[in-house]
C-alpha cells in the first residue's frame, strides 16, 4: 500500500498532476499493476479532486484498462478479418489449450491471459498478437508452441527471441512522398525565411487534402485555426490508426518520424502553437521509445523546444499521448476528449476543433500522412506535388494492402490509380472483392475494379483488403459487425442499439436461420444508422452490410432458411433450462426440427 502510494505520488508529481492526464496515468498504472486497483482509483480521485466514478468511467470505456488483474503475460491476438484469413482462430485455440486457459480469463495462477483485440495494424505480417504491448508477428503453430513454453518457463519478454518482435516496414512501392526523405529542419527554415502566409499559399496551391479520408483542404484548416483569436493554439496529430486493415502510419511513425515532427512543427509555426500532441493508439505503444528518442534528438538540434533554430519566440514541443484501445478515438473530437483525459465520446459539432479543440482552444488535427506531405510540399513546392495525381486529388496515397495477394505491404500510388492496377501490382488474382477504406469503407466487386482511388471516386485513408474467390465473404461481414458493436461508444441510439441488432441479424444469417424478411430488416436498420448517427462511426458502420447486400447478394442467399419467417430465438434451446431442472434429455424433451 505504501509502495502503491509512492508510485502514484511519483507519477503525479513527474507530470504536473492534472486530470487532463488521467488516461495517461491509467495507462501507466495498468502497465505496472496489470489492472487499475481500487486503492489507486481512490488515491487518484483524492489527488486530482475528481469523483471515483469518473475514473471508473474511463476504465470501463477503454479496452486496454481493466478492473481485474490480467495475467503476468497479457496476450491479445489481433482479430481483424485478415488475421482470421491467416488462421488466427486455430492459433488462439491452440495456445489456450497448451496453456490451459480460457479466452478472456486469467489463468488461476495469474500467469497469463489470452484474449482478442481489434486490428493491431500488422495485417501484412500477421497473424499477430500483442504481449504486454509488444507485437509478435507472423504467428504459426511453431511460434505458438515456443510462446507457450516461454510463458510456462516464466521467461521475461526481454529474453524472448528478438525475431518474434520483428515488424518490417514492408514498403513495396514508393512514389514522390516516400523518396528523397531528408528533413532536418529545411521546412522550418523555409517557414522562418518566408513567413506563414507563404507556406499557406504553397499548401493551398498544392491542393493538399487531409489524408485521413475526409479530405478537408489542409491550407484552409491551418488558416482557420491561425485566424481564430485565442491565447493558445494546438497542433494535434491523429496517430490513432484504428481502421481495420490500415498500417501505413505504423511505418511512417517507425521510420519517418522526423518528417512527421517536421510537419507538426511547421504547422505550429504557421498557427502559432506552443504545444503539439501526438495521439498514438495503444496498439502502437511499442513505438513510443523510438519516437521519444527522435523528439529528444530534435530538441538537441534546436528543432524543438525554445527559440527553434535560434528564432526568438518560436517555442514548440511535442508530447506523446497514448490511446488505450478505442477505435472511436480516431474521430477527431473523440480524440480530443481522450487527450483531455476523458472517455472518447464524439463532441457535438459545430463548433469544430479549428475553433474549439483541445481545451476548447483552436486546434489543427491532421493525419500522420498529412503532416508528412505538408512538410515536403512546403520545401519542394506545389509543382512537385502536382506532378502526379488527378485534377481533384493531387499527389499520392499510401495504401496498406493485405489479404489474398502474394505481396502485401505498403504501396504508394498516385491518386487516380485503378483497383485493377493495384491488384496487379500486389499479385492478386481470382479476386472476389476488395474492401477499400477499412471496415467503415466500401466493398468493391470485380465489375467495379476499373474504379479509382481518389477523393472524387473511392476516398480512403489507405486500408485495402483483398478477398479471393475461395473466401466466404460473409465471414468478413461477421467480423466487421462484431467490430462495430464492440467499438460503438454508446452515446447515440442508432449506433449503440442498431449496431447490436445488426450484429445479431448477421449471426442469424450465419446460423442459417435468416429469411428474406431479415435481410430487409438489415437494410432498414443500416439506413437508420447511416442517416441518424451522431458521428462517422455509426454512419459508416453498416456500410459493409449494405454494400454486400446490394453487390454480393449470393453470400446471403446461400445461407437463407427456406421459411418466410423464422423466430429470433431458438425455441428448443430456450427449453434447455427446463431439461436441466427435470433431468430429462430424451428425444421427447426436444422440439423437433429446432
Amino acid at each position: 500500500m505504501n509502495d502503491l502510494e509512492t508510485t502514484i505520488t511519483g507519477l503525479l508529481s513527474d507530470t504536473g498532476n492534472s486530470s487532463d492526464r488521467l488516461l495517461q496515468y491509467l495507462c501507466t498504472i495498468q502497465e505496472i499493476y496489470s489492472h487499475i486497483p481500487e486503492e489507486v482509483v481512490e488515491l487518484l480521485a483524492e489527488k486530482l479532486h475528481i469523483p471515483p466514478v469518473q475514473i471508473y468511467g474511463l476504465v470501463d470505456f477503454y479496452s486496454f484498462l481493466h478492473r481485474e488483474a490480467r495475467g503476468d503475460y497479457d496476450i491479445l491476438f489481433s482479430d481483424n478479418i485478415t488475421d482470421r484469413m491467416l488462421g488466427n482462430q486455430a492459433l488462439i485455440n491452440s495456445l489456450c489449450n497448451k496453456l490451459g486457459v480460457k479466452r478472456g480469463e486469467p489463468r488461476p495462477d495469474n500467469r497469463v491471459t489470452v484474449d482478442v483485440t481489434s486490428c493491431t495494424g500488422i495485417c501484412d505480417q500477421g497473424p499477430a498478437m500483442l504481449v504486454n504491448g509488444r507485437v509478435v508477428s507472423r504467428l504459426d503453430e511453431e511460434r505458438i508452441q515456443a510462446i507457450a513454453d516461454l510463458v510456462e518457463a516464466g521467461t521475461s519478454l526481454a529474453n524472448w527471441p528478438e525475431s518474434f518482435f520483428v515488424v518490417e516496414d514492408n514498403i513495396q512501392r514508393r512514389d514522390i512522398l516516400l523518396s528523397d526523405l531528408i528533413f532536418d529542419g529545411s521546412a522550418i527554415e523555409n517557414l522562418l525565411k518566408n513567413g506563414s502566409d507563404a507556406i499557406l499559399e504553397v499548401l493551398e496551391l498544392s491542393g493538399l487534402r487531409g489524408r485521413g479520408g475526409a479530405g478537408f483542404m489542409t491550407a484552409n484548416k491551418w488558416r482557420f485555426c491561425r485566424d481564430t483569436e485565442a491565447d493558445e493554439h494546438y497542433v494535434v496529430c491523429n496517430a490513432d490508426e484504428g481502421e481495420p486493415g490500415t498500417f501505413k502510419d505504423r511505418v511512417l511513425l517507425k521510420s519517418y518520424a522526423d518528417n512527421l515532427f517536421e510537419g507538426m512543427t511547421l504547422c505550429a509555426g504557421v498557427i502559432g502553437a506552443k504545444k503539439g500532441l501526438l495521439y498514438l493508439r495503444g496498439e502502437y505503444r511499442y513505438l513510443v521509445e523510438a519516437l521519444e528518442e527522435t523528439l529528444q534528438k530534435r530538441r538537441d538540434n534546436k528543432l524543438l523546444g525554445e527559440n527553434i533554430l535560434g528564432h526568438e519566440g518560436f517555442d514548440f514541443d511535442i508530447e506523446i499521448h497514448l490511446g488505450a484501445g478505442a477505435y472511436i478515438c480516431g474521430e477527431e473530437s473523440a480524440l480530443i476528449e481522450s487527450l483531455e483525459g476523458k472517455r472518447g465520446i464524439p463532441r457535438v459539432r459545430p463548433p469544430f476543433p479549428v475553433t474549439n479543440g483541445y481545451l476548447e482552444k483552436p486546434t489543427v488535427v491532421n493525419n500522420v500522412e498529412t503532416f508528412f506531405a505538408a512538410a515536403k510540399i512546403s520545401v519542394l513546392g506545389a509543382d512537385w506535388f502536382w506532378s502526379v495525381g488527378t485534377e481533384e486529388s493531387y499527389g499520392t496515397k499510401l495504401l496498406s494492402i493485405s489479404g489474398d495477394c502474394s505481396r502485401p505491404g505498403i504501396y504508394e500510388f498516385p491518386f487516380g490509380v485503378s483497383i485493377n492496377e493495384i491488384l496487379e501490382a500486389c499479385g492478386a488474382d481470382d479476386v472476389q472483392a476488395v474492401q477499400v477504406a477499412g471496415a467503415a469503407g466500401t466493398t468493391i466487386p470485380p465489375q467495379e475494379f476499373n474504379r479509382t482511388i481518389a477523393f472524387e471516386d473511392i476516398a480512403t485513408a489507405g486500408s485495402f483488403m483483398i478477398f479471393s474467390g475461395q473466401r466466404k465473404l460473409i465471414d468478413m461481414v461477421q467480423n466487421f459487425a462484431h467490430f462495430f458493436c464492440h467499438e460503438s461508444c454508446g452515446l447515440c441510439t442508432p449506433c449503440r442499439v442498431g449496431g447490436s441488432l445488426m450484429k445479431d441479424l448477421v449471426e442469424k444469417v450465419i446460423a442459417g436461420h435468416a429469411t428474406r424478411y431479415d435481410l430487409n430488416e438489415m437494410r432498414n436498420i443500416g439506413l437508420v444508422m447511416k442517416q441518424t448517427s451522431h458521428c462517422g462511426l455509426g454512419a459508416t458502420a453498416p456500410n459493409h452490410v449494405l454494400d454486400t447486400l446490394h453487390k454480393f447478394p449470393y453470400i446471403y442467399e446461400q445461407q437463407l432458411a427456406h421459411a418466410g419467417f423464422e423466430p429470433a430465438f431458438d425455441l428448443d434451446a430456450a427449453l434447455g433450462a427446463a431439461r436441466e431442472i427435470t433431468g430429462r434429455n430424451d428425444a421427447d424433451a426436444h422440439i423437433k426440427d429446432g
Binding site: 466514478v53 470501463d60 470505456f61 454508446g490 452515446l491 442508432p494 441518424t532 429470433a568
Partner: protein, 247 residues
C-alpha cells in the same frame, strides 16, 4: 419590421435569434419536434437522435444544429417519421419497458413520443437485458430497466445541483448509468429528493418513494392531450409541484 432571420419548418416560417439551434427556434415558435435527451435548460448532447430532421437534404439533429437563414427543414416526411419510429423502437427493445406495470405510464415522455409518432409495436427483437433496481436511497428509487441513457440526470446533477451524482459509464451496448458514491449505491450518494436531477428524468427510471399512483389513469400528463401540446415531462414537473404544494 420583422427580422429576416427565418428558416422554414415544413413550409412554415420560423424566426430565430443568433445562437439558436433549430430546436430552440422551433420550440419558441410553439411548434414541436419530438425529442427525449433534449431539455432547453441544458447544453444539448444530441444522443437520442429522435429529433433528427432533414435540413436541405442532410439528416441532422435539430437540438444541436445552429439555425441559419433560409434553411428548409423537413420534420414530417415519411422518411423522417419512419426513422424516428425505428429509433424509438430501438430504445424500447434495448431496455425493459413494460408500460402497463410502470408507474410513469401516461406521464412518460418515451411513451408519449412513441404515441405521437404512431409507433404501434417495438418491432425489433427484444434484448431483455437483466437489469437491477437500486432502492438504497431513502426517498428515490432507480429502475435501470427504464433508463434510456439520455444523460439529463448527469447534466442536471453536474450543472445545476453541483453534485455529479450520475454519470454514464461503460461503452457501446454495455453503457450504463452509474452513481457517484463510495459503494456505488444511490443511497450513499449526495442525491436529495429535491435535486434538479430527480425531476428531469423523461421516463420512469428515477421515481420518488413513499407515494405511488397519485394521478389516476385518465388524468395523467399525456392522457388527454399529445406531447406536442403538453410539452416535456421536466417542463411540467415544476408546475405540478407548485400546484401540489398549494393544495
Amino acid at each position: 419590421m420583422s427580422s429576416d432571420k427565418k428558416f422554414k419548418l415544413d413550409g412554415k416560417d420560423i424566426p430565430f435569434h443568433d445562437g439558436d439551434t433549430i430546436m430552440d427556434a422551433v420550440l419558441r415558435a410553439g411548434e414541436y419536434i419530438p425529442h427525449l435527451c433534449h431539455n432547453p435548460e441544458f447544453k444539448p448532447n444530441g444522443s437520442c437522435r429522435v429529433c433528427v430532421v432533414d435540413v436541405d437534404g442532410r439528416h441532422m439533429s435539430a437540438c444541436t444544429l445552429p439555425a441559419a437563414k433560409n434553411m428548409e427543414v423537413d420534420n414530417s416526411s415519411e422518411v423522417i417519421l419512419d426513422q424516428r419510429r425505428s429509433l424509438l423502437q430501438m430504445l424500447f427493445v434495448e431496455g425493459n419497458h413494460i408500460c402497463p406495470a410502470c408507474e410513469k405510464s401516461g406521464a412518460c415522455q418515451l411513451q408519449a413520443v412513441a404515441y405521437y409518432t404512431r409507433m404501434l409495436s417495438p418491432h425489433f427483437t427484444h434484448f431483455f437485458p437483466r437489469r437491477s433496481i437500486d432502492a438504497s436511497h431513502p426517498d428515490i428509487i432507480f429502475y435501470f430497466n427504464r433508463c434510456i441513457l439520455c444523460g439529463l440526470c448527469e447534466r442536471a446533477s453536474r450543472d445545476v445541483d453541483g453534485k455529479n451524482v450520475f454519470s454514464i459509464s461503460g461503452r457501446g451496448i454495455n453503457s450504463k448509468l452509474v452513481f457517484n458514491s463510495p459503494t456505488g449505491k444511490l443511497g450513499d450518494s449526495a442525491l436529495s429528493a429535491t435535486d434538479k436531477a430527480v425531476s428531469v428524468c423523461p421516463v420512469g427510471a428515477i421515481l420518488p418513494k413513499h407515494k405511488g399512483y397519485e394521478d389516476p389513469i385518465g388524468e395523467r400528463l399525456y392522457d388527454t392531450k399529445p406531447i406536442s401540446v403538453v410539452g416535456d415531462v421536466a417542463a411540467n414537473h415544476s408546475a405540478n409541484d407548485s400546484s401540489r404544494n398549494g393544495d
